[in-house]
């Protein structure tokens, strides 16, 4: 095949420029965004999204970015990544062409808190990379932002300055604003150094007071699938035949109250039920909500577990001793006004290594931003959980 002549090449290049330069109409962009929003599980909609993405990435201009950011308000996590990739590509292309995104349009979007977290965080990302000076001026305004990720920088700045000044009031402000565990710990440690009392269970909304029962069996990890009586009904006055852990010992088990004194709300079943292996335990509590509203149950555990909320299974995970952290699992729930019942099943396996002793979980109720939602009848935090000492 002969090489194209100069003239042909020039025509092709001009055509390419025209194609790139022609921005999509608002209607066309909307239709392409709809293709991105339509992606579903197991790759559904990927081919159509790829075609739309290519068009947006090649043709959209900085003027189209606010519409793309706004579309993230309607996007699930998959579609949000499609849009995120397109916006960043448009931003790169515009930057390379000498017409970068303007700080004004990004700031306008970012500071409008009615937009969802995904679009606002992307606007923040773009602002940080392309207009760092503008970003810096905005940072302090995000201290109480509904998007917790936007709080990180102002909380860090405030904690640092308040620590240097030994300013308790500002440290308290930083603590109240902080949502991430590392920043909460940092502010709390400084306050305690200055002699202040810090109530972390209340800050996070950990549920501290439980009724627990066990042990049931978990030989060969069979307890995870087994249905023991607490899963059928919660009767705090009932007694059951549990697992015989010592020959000749009475295996009758009953619910008993247990209040954790851990400041991160860790409910250690080894304490009320004994240091046992190949066992299953249950913990239940009632959370009284002042109103009906959406909320999140956030859970951490390194044991196999199942969770029920108001009698309905929420999630279950058959994994042992791989790790535990605050907010390891997040589940949206609808609180009803008044009492709401939470039931946890917690299985301990047969492993004998020192790092497999834990038989515990931590659970809190908060809103989608991680702000604690406190029960209307929440008891006072146990004094031992206020000290920061294990």
């Amino acid at each position: 095949m002969p090489l194209p002549t100069l003239t042909t090449a020039a025509v092709l290049a001009a055509a390419a420029v025209l194609t790139v330069a022609a921005p999509p109409s608002a209607q066309a962009l909307e239709a392409e965004i709809d293709q991105l929003l339509a992606v579903g599980p197991e790759g559904k909609g990927n081919p159509e999204a790829a075609a739309a993405w290519k068009s947006i990435a090649a043709q959209a201009t900085p003027a189209d970015v606010p519409a793309l950011l706004a579309a993230m308000d309607k996007a699930g996590p998959l579609a949000a990544n499609w849009i995120r990739g397109a916006v960043l590509t448009v931003a790169d292309r515009s930057q390379a062409a000498g017409s970068p995104l303007t700080p004004d349009s990004l700031t306008a979007f970012l500071t409008k808190t009615t937009h969802g977290p995904a679009g606002r965080l992307l606007a923040a990302d773009l602002l940080k990379h392309s207009h760092p000076d503008t970003w810096k001026t905005l940072v302090p305004t995000f201290l109480l932002d509904p998007v917790p990720a936007l709080r990180r920088e102002p909380v860090a700045l405030l904690t640092t300055s308040a620590t240097a000044a030994k300013d308790k009031s500002q440290l308290r402000q930083a603590l109240d604003a902080a949502r991430d565990e590392d920043q909460v710990r940092a502010a709390a440690d400084e306050l305690r150094t200055l002699g202040e009392t810090v109530d972390l269970p209340r800050h996070f909304g950990f549920l501290m007071d439980w009724q627990v029962i066990g042990p049931f069996d978990n030989k060969s990890r069979s307890g995870y699938a087994a249905v023991f009586p607490p899963e059928l009904s919660i009767d705090l006055n009932a007694s059951y035949q549990g697992k015989e852990v010592k020959p000749g010992a009475d295996p009758t088990i009953r619910w008993k109250p247990f209040t954790t004194e851990d400041e991160f709300g860790v409910v250690d079943l080894n304490k009320p039920l004994g240091m046992l292996k190949e066992v299953t335990g249950y913990a239940t509590t009632t959370y009284t909500s002042p109103e009906a509203r959406p909320a999140e149950i956030r859970l951490g555990s390194k044991n196999a577990w199942k969770l029920w909320f108001n009698g309905t299974p929420v999630f279950a995970r058959d994994e042992y001793h791989r790790g535990m952290k605050i907010d390891q699992y997040r589940f949206p729930v609808e609180l009803k006004a008044g009492p709401n019942t939470i039931l946890m099943k917690l299985c301990q396996n047969e492993q004998t290594e020192t790092w497999t002793v834990q038989w515990d979980f931590q659970l809190r109720i908060c809103d989608a931003s991680g702000t604690a939602l406190l029960a209307s009848d929440r008891p006072a935090t146990p004094p031992a959980a206020l000290t920061g000492k294990k």
Partner: protein, 408 residues
């Protein structure tokens, strides 16, 4: 005509590499441990390492222990950043200068919790020579072309909500017979899947035992049929799959470890065994299971995967001792203490074995020496947990902060 003549003299894998790259300046390294996930390069990187061998060093925006891929004049890498490593980076560098050509950032949709020693950018991406498939510990997978255009994405945790590992996932995908093989094996929703590289959709999905598994699949070409088998190592043994269908070809019942992957040779497969050293199998082809050549508790792979070169297998144990063994007999002509510990696996460039310690000491070993001999060292002075990649006369390694090209 010239190219055809060259190809006739090259092994088929090398010819495939030339075809993929469309360029002869660099030999491509398109997945974890390179061609067939073997750990063997086709060029000769400098055996006597020196600081002057550093061609370039690029800054990285996030952590990772994935290996770089090299395709033509582009180098690809993944990284993760943010308080919970929730920002996923796919990066492309110019192979000549180390300059960043493009970067794409996404948000993790799956769980990002990991053991502190690993991180969300643990799996190495794979490429078919025109597309990049970047998988992360969060089970997010992104397919991009070499210009950074997004072609598809998947979230295996959104699709299968119990598919995750609270210590982190690490298995690297591979391409085999035009199918992207992803080994998402864990204590919960455990599976290995064949993904259509064009759409990201499942071609097949095979339920696997509920056990955490950080090994990566390996490919072996059956000389009889010319077809590829995908070898999946797990605690339950080794499973050979037809990559196009996911159908079992044969199994090996002896348990394999779940951290180091198997080492593949022309006709042998070296499988690290939990507490029992190394087992070497002779691959027979067809649906007949391989025959055990030998098993030795004295040759161990701790975290680093063994590598086969020619008639020998090399393995590094937890104390940093490199053992050399004959593939057919298990005889051990030598062993050599390296400066460990090692998280990354050794790779072979010609007869030189390269391994980088967790402390960032890149070490070159002359495997032709009667006792094995260290031929060079280069202190990169950063924590390095990745497996090196090779391309032509260069070695590529990364830390949490930097990517190096070393060689020529």
């Amino acid at each position: 005509m010239k190219t055809q003549a060259i190809r006739r003299r090259l092994p088929s894998a090398a010819a495939a590499i030339l075809t993929f790259s469309g360029a002869t300046a660099y030999a491509d390294w398109l997945q974890f441990r390179g061609p067939d996930a073997s750990g063997r390069g086709t060029g000769q990187a400098p055996a006597a390492l020196a600081p002057s061998d550093i061609v370039w060093k690029a800054d990285l925006p996030g952590r990772g222990l994935s290996s770089p891929l090299i395709a033509g004049n582009k180098v690809f890498l993944t990284a993760a950043s943010g308080p919970d490593q929730e920002t996923l980076h796919v990066l492309c560098f110019d192979n000549t200068s180390g300059k960043t050509l493009w970067e794409r950032r996404f948000q993790a949709t799956g769980r990002t919790m990991c053991h502190e020693k690993t991180n969300v950018a643990a799996p190495t991406p794979a490429s078919d020579g025109t597309r990049l498939f970047a998988l992360f510990s969060s089970n997010d997978c992104f397919c991009l072309d070499f210009d950074g255009n997004l072609l598809w994405l998947r979230s295996f945790t959104l699709d299968y909500p119990n598919a995750s590992n609270s210590l982190g996932m690490a298995s690297s995908p591979i391409l085999a017979d035009g199918v992207l093989i992803t080994q998402i094996e864990n204590d919960g929703e455990s599976f290995t899947a064949g993904i259509d590289p064009a759409t990201g959709q499942n071609l097949w999905k095979l339920d696997r035992p509920k056990n955490a598994n950080w090994t990566s699949p390996t490919a072996w070409k059956d000389p009889g049929s010319g077809r590829l088998n995908v070898l999946v190592t797990a605690h339950e043994g080794v499973l050979a799959l037809d990559p196009r269908t996911g159908k079992e070809q044969w199994t090996l019942p002896k348990p394999g470890t779940t951290i180091p992957s198997g080492g593949i040779g022309e006709n042998h497969f070296a499988v690290p065994r939990p507490g029992k050293g190394l087992a070497v199998w002779t691959l027979t082809g067809g649906t007949s299971p391989p025959q055990l050549a030998w098993e030795s508790p004295q040759i161990n792979s701790d975290t680093a995967s063994p590598v086969i070169q020619g008639s020998r297998v090399y393995a590094i144990n937890g104390a940093g001792v490199l053992s050399c063994a004959e593939l057919t007999t298990g005889d051990r002509p030598w062993k050599l203490r390296l400066e460990g510990p090692f998280s990354g696996s050794p790779v072979m460039s010609g007869n030189t074995l390269f391994a980088v310690s967790e402390r960032g000491l890149l070490q070159a070993v002359d495997t032709t020496s009667a006792e094995g001999a260290i031929s060079g060292k280069l202190d990169l002075a950063e924590t390095i947990l990745c497996t090196p990649s090779l391309s032509g006369t260069s070695i590529y390694v990364r830390s949490d902060s930097h990517l190096w090209r070393i060689g020529r």
